[in-house]
């Protein structure tokens, strides 16, 4: 197992390199130079050159890339073009809020969706199932920005129950309560999709598992249906569900761009948008690589989880 993990980590390296090269190329494809943003319109070529030099943009692309790579390996992800602040601390300060938001969302969603999916599967064909299935279709189809705006319209603008955005409140009283207060709407908006998606998936796998022969065997043993569900059903249904968790995990960092934008959540999503708008390429590179690392890590985690849950899988 250890060997396997090490092997996987090693194979992740070329993928990461590929991604960083891809991201680098992508950014340099764009017309216009980032310096256009930072030098004043009447700067002289000499001054523009000075800025380019200070930002390292005067070097040929491959040198720029290798310089970036060399520094990145030492933990230096470069500086923000405009403020000249190092990228890493900013990135780190934004991870917290995003993980808070997405972590809450995912946990909340799974806690709701997994039982819902199971209920839906057990009641397959009844009105409960139809309602839940229909509901989950609504959930995956409703654009989150529309839902977000709608909730803001109703709960913030009209009813004034919740703030329109932000992560904490000025003039409020409790830190934790205030955070919860701010979390409610964005978490609802984000959860709509995750709950719906997971419910659908859980339902499908549960139905599939219930069609398996070993469930028939368990029934024929005379086990009670709850026992069949918990002992034979859920564990086997969880195996495919791990895949979904695996695809959801990376969204811990990058999944909430639009929602963070609507609710002005000071997380990575908004940082991304800003980095794009302001052409903060080092920041973008860092975010891209970070996201890729998370994806690869999540994949690895999923594979390990498979091995834990499924005795048929052994990595040697």
């Amino acid at each position: 197992m250890k060997k396997y993990i090490i092997k996987r980590l090693l194979t992740a390296i070329p993928v990461l390199l590929m991604i960083s090269v891809g991201a680098f190329i992508m950014m340099n494809l764009a017309p216009g130079s980032p310096t256009d943003l930072y030098v004043s319109p009447d700067a002289t070529p000499v001054q523009i050159e000075a800025t380019r030099r200070a930002l390292g943009l005067d070097q040929p692309y491959h040198i720029q890339y290798f310089r970036w790579l060399g520094r990145a390996l030492q933990g230096d992800l470069g500086i923000n073009y405009s403020t000249r602040y190092p990228v890493l601390p900013i990135l780190i300060s934004r991870i917290g809020p995003t993980i808070t938001l997405m972590g809450t969302t995912l946990v909340f969603s799974y806690l709701i969706a997994i039982p819902l999916g199971i209920i839906s599967a057990r009641k397959n064909g009844t009105w409960v199932d139809n309602l839940l299935t229909g509901g989950s279709f609504v959930g995956v189809s409703i654009p989150n920005f529309f839902l977000g705006l709608g909730l803001i319209y109703i709960f913030s603008v009209q009813l004034r129950w919740f703030p329109t955005g932000g992560m904490s409140e000025l003039g409020g009283s409790g830190g934790f309560l205030s955070a919860i207060h701010h979390l409610v709407l964005p978490v609802i908006v984000l959860s709509a999709f995750y709950i719906a998606n997971m419910t659908r998936y859980m339902r499908a796998t549960m139905i599939q598992v219930y069609g398996e022969n070993y469930i028939r065997t368990a029934t024929a043993k005379g086990l009670a249906s709850e026992v069949i569900l918990t002992r034979h059903g859920i564990r086997n249904a969880l195996i495919p569900v791990i895949t979904i968790i695996g695809t959801d995990l990376p969204r811990l960092v990058g999944g909430a761009i639009v929602t963070e934008q609507i609710f002005q959540w000071p997380g990575l999503g908004r940082l991304t948008i800003m980095a794009i708008q302001q052409r903060e390429y080092p920041m973008l590179m860092a975010i891209t690589v970070l996201s890729a690392v998370v994806v690869l890590f999540a994949n690895l985690l999923v594979d390990i989880m498979y091995a834990v849950v499924d005795p048929r899988i052994k990595y040697n």
Binding site: G32, D42, T44, T164, G171
Partner: protein
């Protein structure tokens, strides 16, 4: 000469992606403020400050924040008046200016502010190696080229001479208007501490800690922390030479226009930074006016929006004028801006004392426009490439209207939208037919960089000897009365030749709670001149 100062530069919206819909705002761990707390001022910004480097201030928001902790030699309470701050100016011949530094002025670490600091600041700005955005502020000094870069033959600017600890002289290349020097050098340049920056290689200054996290200040406040895109935390400088500020703490919080409205509603903000960096879109101003206890002042601004024309492709003034007749600019102001702005006749808005009040904008006359085009043999078959930069909602909407108006006179246009850097790159290459652009002007009427041949922001390919000549004349005038007629003539000439079509200038607003004594002034860039005297005193 413009666009780098403290004047709200509309382009900055585009540049930092900073309009209402895309702006970057966030609330974070800003300490909570109790109701009725008079020691903390909450200021709303819609643009994030980009730099705390006194030599390099590409963005308006950064400059505005820097004024909290770096003083300039002069302040500018109104567009045409100056008051001494760190220093005062005197001249006899309009060429040699004596600068006297305030006796009490000192840095927050106890060091006095000296003539050496001023000389160091000016020399650094003029250094060819330095990254700076202030070239135009020193371009009048003896020993610099027209962009404000020190000529090669000198190691130090010959035009800057330290006389004693608190006195220095500045010699200009030719006589200039004191007001011009006062604004550009006296007001725009923030004096940097030599004992902090002096040891750093000029090329390394922008990335240095001294520039990104300043620690020695001459202003009313001290910089504490910048939480990127979230807030800037400032604390009062108790030893401020003009008197310790009344308000102890300032948070400049970055948020989008919508959040600003709701934060005002919630009582979480005391004022908006105003200008182009702290304002809700004009169309939403009425929402602020509806909030109890909020004062909303409307002032004319120096900003202007223009339809720029590729003068190389459209070298016939009749064609360009026809474009102006085709646009219903009155409608834009009345409906899009809800009357909160004015139609521009040329580049000067009513905020500027140099505006020729007698010059009327060309009227909306599509029939005439069409006739003129036909007469000029305009090619109606080739669609015009019309580029609109993204980031300013009103401008984009105006772009759609312009497309419609042009098509009504039979001119087809292909509108495309690019973010500002891309658009700027295209404009620099003259890779367009017509486009929209916003300029923020200074109180000084010099517009050389926009319309002079070879001007840095002359993205239209304007080469008009008359304009060049008038601009030279205007620059060499040494007082208002001497310069005014020159600029009046320039305005008339611009209308006749129409190298750009001036569209509108939208008002700027001062928004504050009614218990804030202080806040945004009519001359926005100088609003912070009495910062140390601002108070919060809630009636209840």
């Amino acid at each position: 000469a413009c666009g780098n100062g403290d004047v709200p530069d509309l382009e900055d919206d585009g540049a930092t992606g900073g309009d209402d819909t895309e702006e970057t705002a966030a609330e974070g761990d800003v300490p909570e403020v109790e109701e009725g707390d008079t020691s903390t001022l909450m200021v709303g910004l819609t643009n994030a400050p980009d730099s705390f480097n006194p030599f390099y201030r590409p963005g308006v928001a950064g400059t505005w924040i820097q004024r909290f902790f770096y003083d300039s030699l002069l302040t500018m309470p109104t567009a045409d008046s100056f008051e001494p701050a760190l220093g005062s100016f005197e001249t006899e011949d309009n060429q040699v200016f004596t600068v006297t530094i305030d006796e009490n002025a000192n840095w927050s670490d106890g060091e006095p502010v000296t003539a050496n600091d001023v000389a160091f600041t000016l020399n650094t700005i003029a250094d060819p190696e330095v990254e700076t955005s202030l070239g135009t502020s020193v371009a009048m000094i003896e020993g610099t080229n027209s962009s404000g870069v020190r000529l090669e033959e000198y190691d130090e600017l010959p035009g800057v001479e330290v006389v004693d600890e608190k006195t220095l002289t500045i010699t200009t290349k030719s006589p200039v208007d004191l007001a011009y020097l006062s604004e550009f050098l006296g007001f725009n340049v923030l004096i940097a501490p030599e004992h902090v920056f002096g040891d750093i290689e000029v090329a390394d200054i922008p990335n240095s800690e001294a520039a990104t996290m300043p620690s020695v200040f001459s202003g009313a406040y001290e910089f504490v922390e910048y939480d990127t895109d979230n807030y800037v935390h400032l604390e009062a400088n108790p030893d401020y030479y003009r008197g310790a500020p009344e308000i102890e703490t300032v948070y400049a919080r970055i948020m989008n226009g919508t959040a600003m409205i709701t934060e005002f509603q919630a009582g979480n903000l005391h004022m908006a930074a105003g200008g182009g960096i702290g304002m809700v879109p004009v169309q939403d101003i009425s929402l602020l006016e509806d909030i109890d206890g909020l004062v909303v002042d409307e002032f004319p601004s120096f900003n202007g929006q223009y339809m720029i024309i590729n003068n190389e492709r459209f070298d016939d003034p009749q064609v360009r004028q026809a474009f102006a007749y085709a646009l219903n600019r009155e409608l834009t102001v009345e409906n899009l801006l809800e009357g909160r702005g004015e139609v521009l006749a040329s580049t000067y808005s009513s905020a500027s004392p140099y505006k020729d009040e007698d010059l009327e904008p060309l009227p909306y006359d599509p029939d005439l426009a069409r006739e003129m085009l036909e007469e000029a043999g305009f090619d109606f078959d080739t669609p015009l490439e019309f580029v609109v930069p993204t980031g300013n909602a009103v401008r984009e909407q105006n772009g759609d209207l312009i497309e419609q108006w042009l098509s009504e006179i039979g001119v087809e246009v292909n509108q495309s939208n690019y973010d500002f850097p891309t658009w700027l790159a295209m404009a620099n290459d003259l890779d367009y037919d017509i486009g929209l652009m916003g300029w923020g002007h200074t109180a000084d009427p010099n517009i050389a960089s926009y319309v002079q041949t070879g001007g840095a922001s002359n993205n239209m390919g304007v080469e008009d000897p008359v304009i060049d000549d008038l601009i030279e004349q205007g620059m060499s005038g040494t007082d208002f009365d001497e310069r005014y007629p020159v600029y009046a003539e320039l305005q008339q000439h611009l209308q006749d030749e129409m190298p750009i079509v001036p569209l509108y200038s939208d008002s700027q607003f001062g928004v504050r709670v009614d218990y804030l004594n202080g806040g945004i002034k009519e001359y926005w860039a100088g609003s912070l001149h009495d910062l140390h005297e601002w108070t919060l005193d809630p009636q209840d």
